[in-house]
Amino acid sequence: MSDLSRRDFLKLTTTTLLTISGALGVGALFRFLDYQTEPPAKTEFDLGPAANYPIGSRSLVPDVPAFLIHSQNGFSALSLVCTHLGCTVEQKGGEFACPCHGSLYNADGKVLRGPAQKPLRALRVEVNSNGNLILHTD
């Protein structure tokens, strides 16, 4: 401690205090900007009476966006959000093509061609007590 001159000590103290204030300021700024004013996006979609979707039907639900399939085994749904960077895939023939970077998925959502790595997400579908189809995106 003895070879730390008074001037060096003051300089070190100043630098330390400035660094701490700066870090606190940046932290506070991030907390400030981290607040969300809007309610979280909807995760539940009412698709109307299940009877509107007969067995064998395959329907596009654009505002989810999802693809609803009613097969022998019941209802299932695929999210149409590309797993690469989130563009909405387009139906092409029986497949799904992403317009942003060219990923291609088959009818079950499996990746046929990258850059996407993961298959299209399967969404949960249920029929509620009124007989309406409810699609969950969470």
């Binding site: 900007l33 607040y35 989810v64 563009c87 317009p99 850059p115």
Partner: protein, 344 residues
Amino acid sequence: MRPSFFHHLHPPTIPAKQSRWRYTLGAGGMAVFLLLVLGATGILELFYYIPTPDQAARSIQTISYLVPFGGLVRNIHFWAAQLLLIVSAVHLVRVVFTGSYAPPRRFNYLLGLALFIFAILLDFTGYVLRWDQGIQWALVVGTNLIKTIPLIGNLLYIVLTGGTQPGLPTLIRFYAWHIFGLTLGAVILGVWHIFRVRRDGGIAVPPPPLRVDKERITRKELARREVLAMLMTGAALILFAAFIPAPIAQPISDINVMAGDAKAPWFFLWVQQMLKWGDPFTWGVFVPLIVLAVLALIPYIFPKPADSELGKWFPRSNRSAQIILAVIALLIIVLTIFGSLPAS
């Protein structure tokens, strides 16, 4: 005469050889002029632009088609922004190809590079302000890229967009950054950059004993050339603005509904092309940051050109820096061309 701000930026005389167009390309000066034009036209747009998802695209249509001279103002703002990116890139290439980044101008090279980044961010935030179907996918992809950053990605996403998907808070935030945050940063960096040019002894020239050509021009001649460059740039802007309108499409009705064109804005086509190769973080964040880091390190890794070689194109003592920059520029141009081809 009392020295004015004008005199502050213009020394009484400067070497004739290094003030030729074919040496400086006039690119730095044009960038300054374009920034002024962007400020003036941007302020005019503020009087009509409404930063909400329902109204943004409609208010831009109002200014484009109904307000007298509104189309001209908006198109000049648009074209000045595109031209600014080209002119700044040309300026950067000129500085590296003439070796002018060497000490004592190292720090000013970094200021210039930061200014270039700000221009890109201003261009991207401005483009998002349209909030029409033309920008929808670039916005979704651009913000989702932030999410791929390890550890802090999700926090950064919310800080940037104000929510879990693009919406009203996103538009307000981009607006605040565009007209205030980034603009203020660009003004500070720009003034500092110009001040440093003078402080570092003007543009790079050989020391007096080594100058072959001793001719000098006066500050009046320099100012005359600057005015000429401004007039030509101004004329080009008005021509572009009159004949090629800035795009505007339908407002975004639902951020999830596929509509419009999935192309990135032209200055990010090279990144969009790389994203086709795979992992989004690697190609969309990491590689562009590496490119930026290499550019920033140029004045720190490569030797200072020989004194006698300052103030001219392609100094022999600095070939390596020239080659690296040429390769980067060429790759970006080729990727941009591939990225602009219609998807098969």
